[in-house]
């Protein structure tokens, strides 16, 4: 892999203002402080950290959905200020449009680019095939299982052919079996499309299994605690098998320690 920097965060900081109701003054919640890292082209990097440490916030800043207070996010050395077609987003919660079929959901981003209907359709069909949902194209989200919905979500983000995929705990709401199936699928798809991917999770096994590197965030406020290289080659064996590798257990232990031991910094 050529080590060209695709995306970088440079001292990104974000503080939320919490509106005080009923006469109490507003308070300030520092969520991210001086978060810096580089993501290389074509790699999958996971971001882990305990709940509430600012993972979603960080991803939304990268997507341009919310403004940060200080620092820069750069894609190809250009500062990001708003959402763009170079970044595709897979949301944490159910986010399919309930009035659209699976196929129409995948076409959503393509419609916004004014791609003609026939072409949109073809592209959507290709992507649904890629995520293994050819048979469910005309089904509405409520007719799909949680796992199928997340496949559609993935296809929808891939449809606009972004250079970077931002995925916010896409599998966290799924049961263990479905999750492992989708993790393996994601690696297979990644072999095919080779997108630079930032993958937020709090599942350590998932982070190790999917990633080239893992960024561990410390909480309150969120900071980069450490960046860990994952040494396993692609294609990787199934997760249960990889778990048997002593290096896997060692990495897992280390991450666990890092997350737990992160001391809070005085605001």
């Amino acid at each position: 892999m050529e080590h060209r920097i695709k995306l970088s965060a440079e001292k990104v900081s974000k503080t939320f203002r919490i509106r005080g109701g009923g006469g109490t003054p507003d308070s300030f919640l520092p969520v991210l402080r001086n978060v810096s890292f580089d993501i290389f082209e074509g790699e999958i990097v996971s971001i882990i950290g305990e709940s509430g440490c600012g993972k979603t916030t960080l991803l939304r800043i990268i997507q341009g959905l919310i403004r940060h207070d200080a620092g820069d996010v750069k894609v190809d050395d250009k500062v990001v200020v708003k959402p763009g077609r170079d970044r595709g987003f897979v949301f944490q919660q159910a986010s399919l449009l309930p009035w659209r079929t699976a196929r129409a959901n995948v076409e959503f981003g393509l419609e916004l680019q004014n791609i003609p209907p026939a072409k949109r359709r073809e592209k959507a069909q290709d992507l649904l095939a890629l995520v293994g949902l050819s048979h469910a194209q005309e089904q509405f989200p409520h007719e799909l299982s949680g796992g199928m919905q997340q496949r559609v979500n993935l296809a929808r983000a891939l449809a606009i052919d972004p250079a970077i995929m931002l995925m916010d705990e896409p599998f966290s709401a799924l049961d263990a079996q479905t999750r492992e199936v989708l993790q393996a699928e994601l690696l297979r798809i990644q072999q095919e499309v080779g997108k630079t991917t930032i993958f937020v999770t709090h599942d350590l096994d998932e982070a190790i299994y999917l990633s080239n590197r893992v960024i561990v965030l410390a909480a309150k406020p969120g900071r980069v605690k450490e960046v860990i290289d994952i040494p396993f080659d692609h294609p990787r064996p199934p997760l249960p098998e990889l778990r048997g590798d002593p290096r896997f257990q060692e990495l897992r232990g280390r991450m666990w320690e890092l997350i737990r031991s992160a001391p809070a910094v005085a605001a």
Partner: protein, 286 residues
């Protein structure tokens, strides 16, 4: 008070019935009441109808015809009034008013509701007026409207539109305010422009509420029409009721009342099927 809070207390109650919200995918198997046959249900229903109409016929005949009528007399009156053309022209006249007013109320209610729901400045400009008018019992201004417009169609159209527009408006506002935040985020994440978000996310998401508004609106519209025709008493079904009331012809009075009932039921069913057509994802269980 904002429009949202008002709508939260009032019409939203009706907008939030189970059929309006997407039904969660719960497996009801274990808590379902005992299974019944559809044909049996219809048999019971039919028996109930026969019993009710039959009792009405028998008991109605015992009462002074000045106060009460009974089905066969009403049927005879209906035939007479239809043959003379009076019923048809009155129904036409009333329907015309309702159609025009409903059309106006739909356009005004939906357009204004969507704007108030989405844009805070429009809301600030309009919410006080909407709330004040919403809380006023609108029939109170009927005499005033007649002074303004006289007894002609324009007075009726004004009154019916006024009564119809509020459920439509309030529900449209609620529809926009209740668009799930994460769906708007999807639009933003895919770099949609404001008009695109409006068209592709807010509008379809608010559609069920808008349909509920229309359904409530048509009911109000019929009430408004009858009230307006009571006052102007020149033509239409309302005027017919007043006329035969004054003549103590109770059987003939029942005829326009039954027509109104039929209209109400038909229009409500029509709007419900329209809803089903436009928002199939809300009818999970079908």
């Amino acid at each position: 008070m904002t429009v949202q809070s008002i709508s939260g207390e009032l019409d939203i109650g009706s907008a939030k019935t189970t059929e309006t919200n997407p039904v969660p995918n719960i497996d009801y198997e274990d808590i379902e009441p005992p299974k019944v046959k559809k044909s049996h249900l219809w048999a019971v229903r039919l028996a109930s109808i026969v019993f009710t109409v039959g009792s009405w016929e028998i008991l109605g005949r015992q009462v002074d015809p000045l106060f009460m009528s009974y089905p066969s007399a009403i049927a005879a009156a209906a035939v007479r009034l239809t043959a003379s053309g009076e019923l048809i022209s009155a129904t036409y006249s009333s329907l015309r008013i309702v159609a025009i007013s409903f059309g106006l109320a739909t356009i005004i209610g939906l357009a204004l509701g969507l704007l108030i729901g989405r844009y805070r400045y429009v809301e600030a400009a309009a919410d006080w007026l909407v709330n004040a008018l919403y809380c006023t019992p609108k029939v109170a201004i009927v005499p005033l409207v007649i002074i303004w417009f006289g007894l002609g169609d324009s007075a009726k159209i004004f009154i019916v539109t006024l009564l119809t527009v509020f459920p439509i408006l309030i529900n449209a506002i609620a529809g926009v305010k209740n668009v799930p935040r994460n769906l708007i985020d999807v639009g933003a994440a895919f770099d949609a422009t404001e008009p695109e978000i409006f068209r592709k996310i807010i509008l379809p998401s608010a559609l069920p509420y808008m349909m509920t508004g229309l359904r409530l609106g048509i009911g109000r519209g019929l009430i408004g029409m009858v009230v307006a025709e009571f006052y102007t008493a020149i033509n239409g079904l309302g005027a017919m009721i007043v006329k035969y009331g004054n003549q103590y012809d109770t059987a003939s009075m029942f005829v326009p009342i039954l027509v109104l009932m039929l209209l109400g039921v038909t229009l409500t069913i029509a709007l419900r099927s329209l809803d089903k057509y436009f928002a199939p994802w809300r009818y999970v269980d079908d």
